[in-house]
Amino acid sequence: MSNQFYNAAPQETRVAPPRKPARTYPANKPAQVYLFGTCVVDLFFPEAGMDAIYLLEREGIAVDFPQGQSCCGQPAYTSGYTDQAREVARSQLKLFANDWPVVVTSGSCAGMFREHYPDLFKDEPEMLAQVQNLAARTYELAEFLLHVCKVQLADHGAPLQVALHTSCSARREMNTHLHARALLGQLAQVERVEHDHESECCGFGGTFSVRMPDISGAMVADKTQSLLASGAQQVVSADCGCLLNINGAFEKQNNPLLGQHLASFLWQRTHVEQEPSL
């Protein structure tokens, strides 16, 4: 055996962190929140970001949208460019100075704040405290609407069957599938239909989709096929990375089915134009 083996400190062995207890939520909704829109929403699904603002404002919550925001850093982080991800994270951290909740319109970016920022700054004690503070007040939109705002949605739309796709990191880090299901369940005329291998990855994986286009392509082909076979008239997701992938593939296949962000779907189903007052 090599010397390397005997020199390694045995106390360096890691034990898996204990399971986290279920997240507890504040009893009352706050007066003010930050919205982190995410880079994909910013450029490709801005209406989803606006609908998130409308949904929050309807709950009587003032929304601040810091103009300095860009990306959570995930693409560089998952590609192994940790230093670059850390610098972008540092620039974003400055934007949320007040102690308001940060609502994120994408589960995987919320997961980046909560689960991976602490890893990025593990060697910077001062930043770490700031990061942990941010993590504790970061919510994915569906989670925030359901558990903090405790919304009661009144459905004004026609009967509709929808399929729900949840991003993998959103599911595993943020339980977004449960929150989104509960919100859809409040809509009286909406029936959520299951699709084959529902919990399987759509094949996006950030840069994976361009580094490994063959494998990623096979995955999204299966995903779009099972969404089609579900009979749903509409696809809904709370993660725009997946939507970019799934919608791009649907379009390439000349398929009329398209995915919509959950925020836009909820807003359109529940919003009633107010009668102009006399």
Binding site: P10, R14, M50, S169, E200, G217, N245
Partner: protein
């Protein structure tokens, strides 16, 4: 012998991307893999239905493995001392070449001509069959799956179920072609045919070779699980038994094997326990009627100490080789095990192979994952596989040959151009004026997006930026309100 290979992948290549492209087109493979993996996924969860119990057991499994690794050098020494005292000869090998030489020397000392093998992934790592054949010794696999792929001149597609990518019809054709057995796709009769051939081989073999599931330091016990009885035959019938295993397989005591066994068989096959659990602690004693006269253990390092030396990467060595990560992996399910071009495929293969072979020989392995996390969620010993994949990506894009290098082949995907791009990405996303200028251009000139965006447009239409960014819309809206 090699004229009728059914599989599409060139197993001599480690080029994962090229292999995957081929295997994705193999509809039979896709179908076989999907239905097999679906069945394994459901069997696992049926065998561990209670979430709390399952998660507690996984936590215990993780602690047992972490505890063993924290005392690894000591446990290995204790294992060696106890085995030696009980009459089992212990050999240490740094490399697979050394391990093969050890096995060959033992074989030559007995003038052995035939070797019968129980299932052993470490022997695959060593390419032991090829090595022994080169030296005039016949090595025959006796595990049914291994036997099938050996007949077809293939490599295992899965660490537990080596021939899981083949269906009964394909095996029937193979047996018809290679063994001159009339074609049938009846699984029971196919197994019976193979068993009767193998039965004879057991009695004529000079040496039996097996792997080890857990090596127990305190009692000097080699624990081996299996379902076919071939493991017991390989380790008891021939006059010599050689067990080969990796140095990480040691645990402190028998008590520690209880949760690990429970996790192993349930995670692998949804079984509460395997048909056979063998515990080997000595060669045949005076007055005993059976058992081998000689028992050897070969302990192989082969890059494991490199993983051990880094506290994060050390978690790779928690692995108890159940294969659950493969069964649940959307990439593995689609491309099959052979496409990885490495002995260990799937998620665990992507994090262990770089240590065994060097990152320079596995440059695409860390990247061939969407980081969906299905593997980490089911790993019985809680290896954070997605986090380790990400870490390997980091090692992979570092400048090569820096001091303090923790991995052989570091920087095998280093590209100054790509690094510059990410540096640009960093400035773009951390300088608001630059970001705003960029998104302004994209929203105003989005119509000019080229139709062909390389790999993205292979599967998608080109994305069309919105005409106004959320930054602009939100600003307008909030200003109107105030």
């Amino acid at each position: 012998m090699n004229s009728q290979r059914i599989h599409a992948v060139d197993i001599t290549s480690r080029n994962l991307k090229a292999n995957a492209r081929l295997s994705l087109k193999d509809q039979q493979l896709r179908h076989n893999m999907r239905s097999a993996m679906d069945s394994l996924i459901s069997k696992r969860i049926i065998s561990m239905p209670d979430e709390d119990e399952r998660e507690n057991l996984r936590e215990l499994g993780n602690k047992v493995r972490a505890s063993a690794l924290s005392q690894l050098p000591d446990l290995l020494e204790r294992l060696e001392a106890n085995l030696t005292q009980q009459g089992i000869q212990v050999h240490w090998a740094s490399t697979t070449a050394e391990a093969n030489e050890i096995v060959l020397k033992i074989a030559q000392a007995r003038n052995a001509k035939q070797v019968i093998k129980g299932k052993s992934m470490v022997s695959e790592e060593m390419a032991m069959n090829e090595y022994l054949t080169e030296h005039g010794i016949e090595a025959l696999e006796s595990d049914m799956g291994e036997y099938i792929i050996q007949l077809d001149n293939e490599k295992p597609t899965h660490i537990i179920m080596p021939a899981i990518h083949k269906n009964a019809e394909q095996v029937g054709r193979l047996f018809e072609h290679r063994l001159a057995i009339p074609y049938t796709d009846d699984v029971d009769s196919l197994i019976q045919s193979a068993r009767s051939i193998l039965r004879e081989k057991f009695f004529h073999a000079d040496i039996g070779i097996s792997g080890v599931n857990f090596a127990v330091a305190e009692t000097g016990t080699l624990l081996l699980v299996e379902n076919e009885g071939n493991g017991r035959m390989s380790t008891t019938v021939p006059p010599v038994h050689i067990a080969v295993t990796g140095i990480e397989k040691v645990v402190a005591n028998l008590q520690d094997t209880v949760p690990l066994l429970s996790l192993l068989t349930r995670s692998a096959l949804g079984q509460g326990i395997t048909t056979y659990v063998n515990m080997i602690s000595a060669p045949r004693q005076p007055g005993e009627l059976d058992g081998p006269e000689e028992v050897h253990l070969v302990l192989l390092d082969n890059g494991r100490s490199q993983a051990f030396a880094d506290s994060e990467l050390r978690q790779t060595l928690n692995c108890i080789r159940c294969g659950a990560c493969m069964n649940h992996c959307p990439v593995y399910t689609r491309i099959g095990g052979q496409a990885y071009g490495t002995v260990y495929p799937g998620p665990i293969g992507k994090i262990i192979s770089p240590h065994l072979l060097g990152l320079e020989n596995t440059p695409d392995h860390p990247s061939a994952s969407s980081l969906c996390g299905a593997c980490g969620e089911v790993c019985p010993v809680k290896i954070p596989i997605p986090a380790l994949l990400r870490r390997l990506r980091e090692e992979n894009v570092k400048p090569p040959q820096q001091p303090g290098q923790v991995m052989d082949g570091q920087g095998s995907r280093y590209s100054s151009k790509e690094r510059l791009l990410w540096k640009g990405w960093q400035y773009f996303n951390s300088l608001p004026w630059l970001y705003k200028t960029g998104t302004f251009m994209a929203t105003r000139f989005g119509g000019l997006t080229p139709k062909n965006l390389g790999p993205w447009t292979q599967n998608h239409s080109a994305p069309k930026p919105a005409t106004r960014s959320l930054h602009e819309l939100a600003k307008q809206h909030l200003e109107k309100k105030s």
